[in-house]
Symmetry: C3
């Protein structure tokens, strides 16, 4: 049976999950963030210029969920999070293709604002998520196999920042 | 009969109403703004820090629709509105829970830009709406019982600004 | 037969097309941009102040698809595009009215960020699309008959910039 990738419920389920993902980060619930990924996932942050030029370079790279857990632990130890918060706004998700519900390719544009303790608010990052997700048949579960965060700017300071 | 809060038409109706709300403010149609609320509504603007710390402090607080009408009247008398405009962009609404169509809890992230007469455009506010809304059975009417505007920044100048 | 403008699939088809439009511009695929329009389309960029005051002034105006093709050609010859990129984020589309699927009036708010080669990211433009679109009966095709880009700022530098 061919999966129907045009099913509007599929898009709704994926968009809902993306909204929950953004909410997790914006609520500083970083410990829950790895749970959006499958165990053997791929997560990277790179730039549009790297992608355009074919450079296999990433500012952040992880290929297991455990590495994401580690990353959160490091960020917590650096312990600078009281001083800033983030706000993600996502555009509409486009379903680009896929072989079935267990492997759907999607793209979602984003803007992220960073808000400092003194109120200063800047447009911190813009770009898009290029994803491969698995959606269960009943569409209750959506898991990221792969999230490639492609930032528009060539310079994104990710060292001490929350994940994107 | 248990209301189905997963009904996709429910989300669509609420998102449409939120888009109309943003449009009302961005079109400077402030006199129509109180009509989005029920008569005995609760509207407040507060900060994420206040919510996090459990401080029951709000920069703006109203618990009837009439108070919202009054607020619009004051803003019009202050009469500084020709000089700036706003643009709201909302993320996807999440339905968090609720006891039925007459009491649905939702959350919607936002970014608001402020545009001055000289063209200067800044990211004025970011945050989320935490709402309790009533949706009619035919989903033609959506009314806010409660809108808590939670700003990410601890410092939001709301004195002379349009509602959020 | 009266077309059902409340059909949720109609909104989904239009929002998808708007997302593809934004993606086309953000991917710098300008040569594909005119294909979003019908042959005898109307495209203009103007300001909210012009619209409010009834001034029939546009910073950019085209009334055939061919003029859009020409515009892209000029922009490519000016050849400054390696130096900046754009990121559009669109709000929810509102269907305002229309006489049928071949003439649907819609409104969509937007924010556009501009990202310079050195990473500097600014909120470049905000506003709304006021559109007349034709959607095929099977909703596979959505074409712009008219797109009026209404910028909130009175000053938008469109001379050397990508279309909005």
């Amino acid at each position: 049976m061919m999966a129907d990738l045009n099913n509007p419920s599929l898009l709704a389920a994926i968009e809902r999950q993306n909204a929950l993902y953004a909410r997790c980060l914006d609520n500083d619930a970083l410990e829950q963030w790895p749970e959006f990924f499958s165990e053997r996932c791929e997560y990277q942050i790179t730039t549009a210029a790297n992608v355009r030029n074919g450079y296999p370079i990433a500012m952040v790279y992880a290929d297991t969920r455990l590495m994401l857990v580690d990353r959160v632990r490091s960020l917590r130890q650096a312990n600078i999070y009281e001083k800033q918060s983030y706000r993600h706004l996502l555009g509409r998700t486009l379903i680009l293709g896929g072989t079935g519900f267990d492997d759907v390719e999607t793209e979602t544009p984003f803007m992220v604002a960073r808000i400092m303790e003194n109120g200063q608010t800047i447009l911190y990052a813009t770009g898009l998520y290029l994803d491969r997700v698995a959606v269960s048949e009943d569409m209750q579960s959506v898991v990221l196999h792969e999230r490639k965060v492609i930032c528009d700017s060539p310079f994104v300071d990710t060292l001490l920042a929350i994940p994107l």
